[in-house]
Symmetry: C2
Subunit: 554 residues, 2 copies
C-alpha cells in the first residue's frame, strides 16, 4: 500500500507490484496521512501553511542544491508520506513566500482561497485544450474568457461577439502559458501578415524569411519599441528569424515613456535603409517602472507606417478593470493585438497568459491543421495557438472574473494603485530615501540615499559635474545591492532591484529598489516597516556608506 500512516519507526520500504501500482490510481490517501493533513491545512489556512512551512531565514542556493544531487531516477517506489515529509523539508521550506504581504518585489500576490480547490478540480479533470475531443465545454469557456477580455480592451458591440466569439475560423485571442508566448504569438502574426502570400510567393509561413524579404524587396524588417520593452520581445525576434539587432530600442522621456518623436525619426532612418517596420510595440506597464507609453500617439505612428500595433500590457492590462484608472491606458483599444497576463494583477496562479486580437481574422496568419486533430473547420483551439497540448487554466480566470466581478476588481486595483501613491509619499517624506520613479500604476522605484549625500549630489548636478555624480552613483549602487540582498536573506520582507537611467542624473545607470504593490494584503504598516528595515540594514554596511559620506563631505 502506497499511502501509510507515519506510525512505524523502523525504516519502511515500499514495494512495486502490479497491485500497488494500480492502487496509486484508485486508492485515495488515508485521512491521517502526511499529505492529507497538509492538504487540509492548505484548505483551512493557506497563509498559515505558507508562513509556517517556508523558512524565514534564507539558505544559500548552494546548500539547497545539495538535496538535489541525485541524477538517477530512484529504482524502488516510495511511500507518499515519506516523500511528502522530505519535500516539506528540502523543497517547500526553501521555496519563496510569494504570497507574503511583505514580498513586494515581484508581480506575485496572495491568491483568492477559491482558486486552490478549483485548480485541484482542473487538474483532476485533466482536460487538454488543444482540441474539442479532449476539452469539450472547456473550449467555449476559454473562448468566452477571451471574449470578455477582448471586450474589456476593445469594447465592441454585442453583434460582434455574437458573430465571432465562437466562430470556428476566427479567434478573439489565444490563451497561453504566459506573456512571453503571448508576445511571440502577436509578433508571429504581424510578421506573417506583413510577408503574406502574394502572386507567385506563397508567404513567409511557407517559404521562410529569405524568400519573403527578397519577394517584397526589403533589406530587413524591424520592430520599434521603448528601451523599457520586455526581454521577451528579444526572444520573439530571435525566434522569428528577424534578429535581435532589428529591435530598434527607442529612448524614453523623463517619465519613462517612449519618445514618440524619436521613434518616428528612427522609422525614417530605417526607411532610408530599405528596412520595413513590421510592428510598433507599446508598453502598458513597463516591468521596471510600471509606466505606460503614449498609446494613442503610437497608434497614429503605426498607422502612418502602415504596420502592426501591438501593446504589451502583460502587467498593466489588468488596470483596465478599474473604471477609475482605465484612462491611464487610453489608446490601447487602437492596438491590433494586446498581451495581458491573468497571473499578474488578476490574482490567478502562474500559467495564464493571453493575447487578444482586435480583428478576429488576425490569427489566420498562423493557422495550421493536421489529420487527426485541428481539422479544417473544427473548433479545436490548437489550430491557432503556438502551444499544442495545454491545461484548462482559462477556468481559473473565468472563476475570478465571475466571483470577483468588475466591482470587486475596481476595489482591488484601486487599492493597489493608491497604496503605491501612499508609499511614494512616504518615501518622499523620509529624509534618507530618494524616490526615483513615481508610480503610474502600482510599481515604483527608489533607493536609500542619506540626506547629506542627496544634497551633495544635487549640487554635483547643478555644477554638471557628471564625474562626481558617477562616483556617488557607483557607491550607491553597491549600497543598494547590499541592502536588497541583506533584506532578502533576513526573510522578513523582499523588494527587488533593477537598473535604470534616470533623466535627472544625466541618464547614468542607477541601481534602484523596485516595489510592486499587487498584494491586497500588504498593509500600510508593512510599507513603513520595509523602510525602517532598510535604514537599519544600511547602517550595517561598512564599505559603501563610509565612502559615500566621505564623498559628500569632500
Amino acid at each position: 500500500m502506497m499511502a501509510q500512516l507515519m506510525t512505524s519507526i523502523t525504516p519502511r520500504k515500499a514495494q512495486a507490484s502490479e497491485d500497488s501500482m494500480l492502487r496509486i490510481f484508485t486508492v485515495p490517501e488515508d485521512a491521517e496521512s502526511t499529505l492529507s493533513i497538509i492538504e487540509q491545512k492548505l484548505s483551512e489556512d493557506l497563509a498559515g501553511f505558507l508562513g509556517n512551512s517556508i523558512a524565514a531565514l534564507e539558505k544559500p542556493l548552494s546548500e539547497i542544491e545539495t538535496d538535489f544531487q541525485a541524477f538517477q531516477i530512484p529504482t524502488a517506489p516510495r511511500f507518499v508520506s515519506d516523500y511528502t515529509d522530505e519535500i516539506m523539508q528540502n523543497l517547500v521550506a526553501h521555496s519563496v513566500h510569494t504570497a507574503a504581504p511583505s514580498f513586494i518585489g515581484h508581480m506575485t500576490s496572495a491568491l483568492p482561497y477559491f482558486v486552490l480547490p478549483l485548480s485541484k478540480m482542473m487538474v483532476g479533470l485533466n482536460q487538454n485544450l488543444v482540441k474539442i475531443e479532449t476539452s469539450k465545454a472547456f473550449t467555449p469557456l476559454e473562448r468566452q474568457v477571451l471574449g470578455m477580455m477582448h471586450h474589456l480592451v476593445f469594447s465592441q458591440d454585442g453583434d460582434f461577439y455574437q458573430q465571432w466569439m465562437h466562430s470556428a475560423n476566427h479567434s478573439l485571442g489565444a490563451f497561453c502559458s504566459g506573456g512571453t508566448v503571448a508576445n511571440i504569438t502577436a509578433l508571429w502574426i504581424a510578421r506573417n501578415r506583413l510577408l503574406k502570400a502574394d502572386g507567385n510567393f506563397n508567404g513567409v509561413n511557407r517559404e521562410g524569411m529569405l524568400k519573403a524579404l527578397r519577394h517584397y524587396g526589403f533589406d530587413d524588417i524591424a520592430i520599434l519599441v521603448s528601451e523599457r520593452g520586455h526581454y521577451s520581445l528579444g526572444k520573439a525576434v530571435d525566434l522569428l528569424g528577424i534578429g535581435r539587432d532589428n529591435i530598434i530600442s527607442i529612448a524614453t522621456t523623463a517619465d519613462n515613456k517612449v519618445d514618440v518623436e524619436a521613434m518616428r525619426l528612427a522609422a525614417k532612418a530605417l526607411a532610408s535603409k530599405n528596412i520595413k517596420v513590421m510592428a510598433v510595440v507599446g508598453v502598458a506597464g513597463t516591468t521596471e517602472t510600471g509606466n505606460i507609453d503614449p498609446l494613442t500617439e503610437l497608434a497614429a505612428l503605426a498607422q502612418e507606417l502602415d504596420c502592426h500595433f501591438h501593446v504589451d500590457a502583460a502587467w498593466g492590462g489588468a488596470s483596465l478593470l478599474s473604471k477609475k484608472y482605465r484612462h491611464l491606458l487610453k489608446g490601447i483599444e487602437l492596438a491590433d493585438s494586446v498581451t495581458i497576463d491573468a497571473h499578474k494583477q488578476m490574482y490567478v496562479p502562474m500559467g495564464a497568459g493571453m493575447v487578444l486580437f482586435k480583428d478576429p481574422e488576425l490569427a489566420n496568419a498562423i493557422v495550421h491543421h493536421a489529420e487527426y486533430i485541428l481539422r479544417v473547420g473544427s473548433k479545436d483551439l490548437g489550430s491557432q495557438t503556438l502551444e499544442g497540448s495545454r491545461p484548462g487554466m482559462a477556468m481559473i480566470v473565468h472563476a475570478c472574473l465571475q466571483i470577483i466581478g468588475l466591482e470587486g476588481y475596481e476595489i482591488l486595483i484601486n487599492n493597489s494603485l493608491e497604496k503605491a501613491r501612499y508609499f511614494s509619499e512616504l518615501i518622499k517624506k523620509s529624509p534618507d530615501f530618494e524616490l526615483i520613479t513615481e508610480p503610474e500604476l502600482c510599481i515604483l522605484t527608489y533607493r536609500y540615499v542619506p540626506s547629506t549625500v542627496q544634497l551633495a549630489m544635487s549640487d554635483a548636478c547643478q555644477r554638471q559635474d557628471w564625474h562626481a555624480l558617477a562616483q556617488f552613483n557607483e557607491c550607491l549602487d553597491g549600497l543598494t545591492q547590499f541592502i536588497q540582498k541583506h533584506q532578502r536573506e533576513q526573510g522578513k520582507s523582499f523588494v527587488s532591484r533593477t537598473r535604470i537611467q534616470p533623466a535627472r542624473y544625466n541618464r547614468q545607470h542607477t541601481t534602484v529598489f523596485r516595489v510592486v504593490l499587487a498584494n491586497p494584503l500588504t498593509g500600510l504598516e508593512i510599507l513603513q516597516g520595509v523602510l525602517a528595515e532598510q535604514q537599519e540594514i544600511a547602517a550595517l554596511d561598512n564599505e559603501f556608506l563610509p565612502q559615500l559620506l566621505a564623498l559628500a563631505s569632500a
Copy 2:
C-alpha cells in the same frame, strides 16, 4: 461574505466591499460549502467524482456554447457556491472524461491520486520558475528532474551530472508547457547553432535569417522528417522563419518508420539545390501509429550531413522507463536533443513538457539576459527557455519519479504495451475487424470491415484494381467516421480516428480508429466491450454499410 451555505432559497446577491474583497484572500471556505464538499469528494474518490459529475451522454457543442455567450465581465461579484453550482452544470458536466478507463482515444490517463494534493500545494506556493528569486528550491528541483531525464536518455556518468546539472551557464534541458514548445526550442537551438556568429557576421539570433543565409551562402535551410512527423514541427519552421515548405516530408516504409534511404536521397537533392539540411528529426512514437523511426540509422545520416539530430519522443520517450522495452528506442542516446512529455505516458497532469540536450552547452545558442532578472551568471532558468514566467510543474514530475520509481514504471509501461498487443490479437481474431497497424508501443489502428468486404478487397488488391479498392475505402471511411462519432456521443467509450496511407492498400488514404492504451485502469473486458459496441453501432448505419455489401457482392 463570499462563501455561504447554500441554504437560502431567495436569490442572493453578493456585495463588493473592501472587506468582502479582502476576505476572499484570507477566509477559507466553510466546510459545508459547495466547493468544499466537491473538494472533499475529489480527495476521497476522484474516479467517482468524475464518473458522477461528467454527463455520459454527449451534448452538441452548439448547445454547450449557449451557456458561454455573455461577453461582458459581470459587474457584481458572485458567491463562490453559486458559481461552483453553475460550472458543475455547464462546464464540468460537459467536459471530457479523459481519465475513464474506456476513454482510449487520446494520450490521457487516470492520474495517481497524490498528484491532486501536490498540484494544489504547487498552486498555493505559486512559484515562478523564470528566476531564482521567485522559485528558490524549485530551481534546483527542476534541474534535478531534467538531470534524471537526461540520464534516462543519455546515461552519462556521475562526474558529468556533478559538473553540469546545477551549472549556471549550462543546462541539461528545458522544462516547458508541452511537446510543441519543446520541439520549437530544439529546432531554435539547431538553427542558431548552424547559423552562428562567424567573422563579421553576428549570428542569426542577432542579424536574422536573410543575412544569415547570405553570409553562409545557402539558398535555404531544411529539416528532414518522416511524413508521420508531428504538426508542431510545421509550427516550428514557420515561427523560425525557415518556412513550412522546407520541412521535407519523407515517406515511411510499410511499418510506418521513415525510409532512411529515401531521406538520404532527399538530402542529396537538397544539397544539389544549395539547401543546407539543418536537422534530421526522428520520431519515437508517431502520434498516429506509435511507431519508432530507425534512430541509429538516422543518427548516422545526421552525422554524414553534419547536422543536428533531434528526436521527438514526446509520446514514446516514457517507454525508456521500461528495461524490457527500452531497446525499442535504441539510438535515441545518439540524439543532440530529445523531446519528452511527462503529461503523456508518465502519468503527470497536463502542462509538463521537456526537451533534453545531450551537450550542456547547447542551450547557450538561445541564451538571453535582462537587467532586472536573468543576469549573466545567475541560475535563473528563464535565460535559456522559450517561455518566461511559468509554474513549478517539475515538482509533480519529481513526485512521480520518486513515488512510482523505475520499478513502478516498469510495471505500468509494460502493462500498457502488453495490453496493446492483447488488443491487436483480439482485433485479428474478430472476423469483422481489420487491424491496420500493429502496436510497437501502445498505439494501434484498426477499422470495422465486414468479413465479406475484407475478402472482396483482398481480391481487388490481387487484381491491382485500385479503382475498386478506392470505392471500398471511400465507403469504409464513411462507416468508420459514423461509428467513431456515434460511439463518442453514446459516451460509454471513446476511440479517436485519423487518416493514414497503409502500404497494403497501395497507400490509399484510409480512415482508421486509433487507440492509445495508456490508462492502467483499462481492463481487458473494456477492450472487448469497445469492439462489441462498434459492431452494434455499425449495424445502425444505413448508408455506407449497404453500399459496402453491395460492392462486395458485385
